[in-house]
Subunit: 199 residues, 2 copies
C-alpha cells in the first residue's frame, strides 16, 4: 500500500552515501547493512547482489537527470537561452544530488558490461543534447567555438566539478553558485552574459 519498502530505500540511502565517500570497491555489504541497522544477509531480500545496488542508483539518477534537465529545454528558444537553461538546471540538479552525481561520474568503471553499455548510451544522449545546442549557436555565429564536441565535453566537466567542492550546508548560496557557472559556461562558448537584475 505504501508503494515502496522502507528498508529498500534505507539501503539505497546508505549505499549512496558510502559509495560516494569511499567508492564502490571501498564499501562492503557489511558496512551498508550496519548503516541500515540490519544483518548483511538481509540486504539480499531487497537486492540480488552488490552490483545491483549500484545499477539501481545509477539508473534512477540518470532518469531524474534527464527529467530535470533535458525535459525542461524548450526548442523554440534561442541557442543562448537554451544553453542557459541547460546549465542552470544541470548545475542545480548537481548541487541537489551531489552523491548521485559523484557516483555516476566515478563508478562507470565499476559497472559490469551490460549495465555499463546501458548507462553509457543514456549519457551519450545527454551529451548529444548539449552538443545540439552548441551546433545551433555555432551555425548562427552567436557562439564562438572551434569544436562543438570538445566544447560540449568541457562544459560538462566544468559543471560536474561543482559536486567536488560545493556543499549546501556551506557559506555560499546555491543561487549564486549556479549563476557563476551560467556565466562561465555562456562565456566559454563566446556568448555574452547578462547578470540578473539587482533588486
Amino acid at each position: 500500500m505504501t508503494g515502496e519498502h522502507n528498508t529498500k530505500n534505507l539501503i539505497r540511502g546508505a549505499a549512496r552515501r558510502l559509495f560516494a565517500e569511499h567508492g564502490y570497491n571501498g564499501v562492503s555489504m557489511r558496512e551498508i547493512a550496519q548503516h541500515v541497522g540490519k544483518q548483511p544477509g538481509g540486504i539480499y531480500n531487497h537486492f540480488p547482489n552488490k552490483q545491483a545496488i549500484l545499477v539501481d542508483l545509477m539508473q534512477e539518477n540518470l532518469r531524474r537527470a534527464h527529467e530535470a534537465v533535458i525535459a525542461t529545454i524548450d526548442d523554440r528558444l534561442s541557442p543562448a537561452e537554451r544553453l542557459e537553461c541547460f546549465v542552470r538546471s544541470h548545475v542545480l540538479h548537481n548541487i541537489e544530488n551531489p552523491d548521485d552525481i559523484f557516483i555516476a561520474y566515478m563508478e562507470l568503471r565499476s559497472l559490469e558490461p551490460e549495465g555499463a553499455t546501458h548507462v553509457s548510451k543514456e549519457r551519450n544522449g545527454y551529451e548529444a543534447a548539449l552538443r545540439a545546442i552548441l551546433d545551433d549557436g555555432a551555425k548562427s555565429s552567436v557562439f564562438k567555438l572551434s569544436d562543438p564536441a570538445i566544447h560540449a565535453r568541457s562544459i560538462l566537466s566544468m559543471l560536474g566539478g561543482v559536486t567536488v567542492w560545493f556543499r549546501q550546508s556551506g557559506p555560499q548560496s546555491s543561487a549564486d553558485v549556479v549563476e557563476c557557472y551560467v556565466q562561465a559556461a555562456l562565456q566559454s562558448v563566446g556568448a555574452p552574459y547578462y547578470p540578473p537584475i539587482e533588486r
Copy 2:
C-alpha cells in the same frame, strides 16, 4: 649505477595503469605482481605496502605537474597571457599523463590521512596559482567574472576532464585539442581569444 631499480619502475608502471583503470581498491597486489611478472611478496622488497605505491605515484605526479605548469609562468606577462600559458601547459601535461591525472583526481579519498593532507596542500597551491591570475585579470577588468575562486575551480574541472575522453592514439591531434581548451578557458573568464595564425 643506473640510479633506479628496473623492477621498482615496472611496479610503478603496472600500478599506474591498473589504478587508473579499476581504481585503487579495485586492484590487488597479486594483479600488480602478475603484470610485472613477479610473485606478490616480491613487491614488498620495493614498497613497504600498497598504500605507499599510491602515495609514490601521486607525489611524483604533483611534482611534475608543478614543474611543467607553475614553473613556466612568467610573472611579467599580462593576466591573459599568463592564463593562456597556464591552460596550455596544464592541458598538455594532462594529455601526456592521463593515467596519473586520473588517479590524482579519483583517489584522493583512498589516501590515508597523512598522505591526504600533504597532497591536498600541494593541490591547493596549484589552485591558488590559477586564482592569483584570475584575481589580477579581474582587478584590471580584462576578465569578466563574478567569483575568481569558483571560476578557478571550474577551469580546473574543465581542463581535468580531457583525460576522460582524449587518447593520443585517437584521431585528433594534441595541438588542436589544447587550442580548443585554451579558447574555452580564456572565453570562460570573458577574455578574448585570438586563434593562432594559419600558415
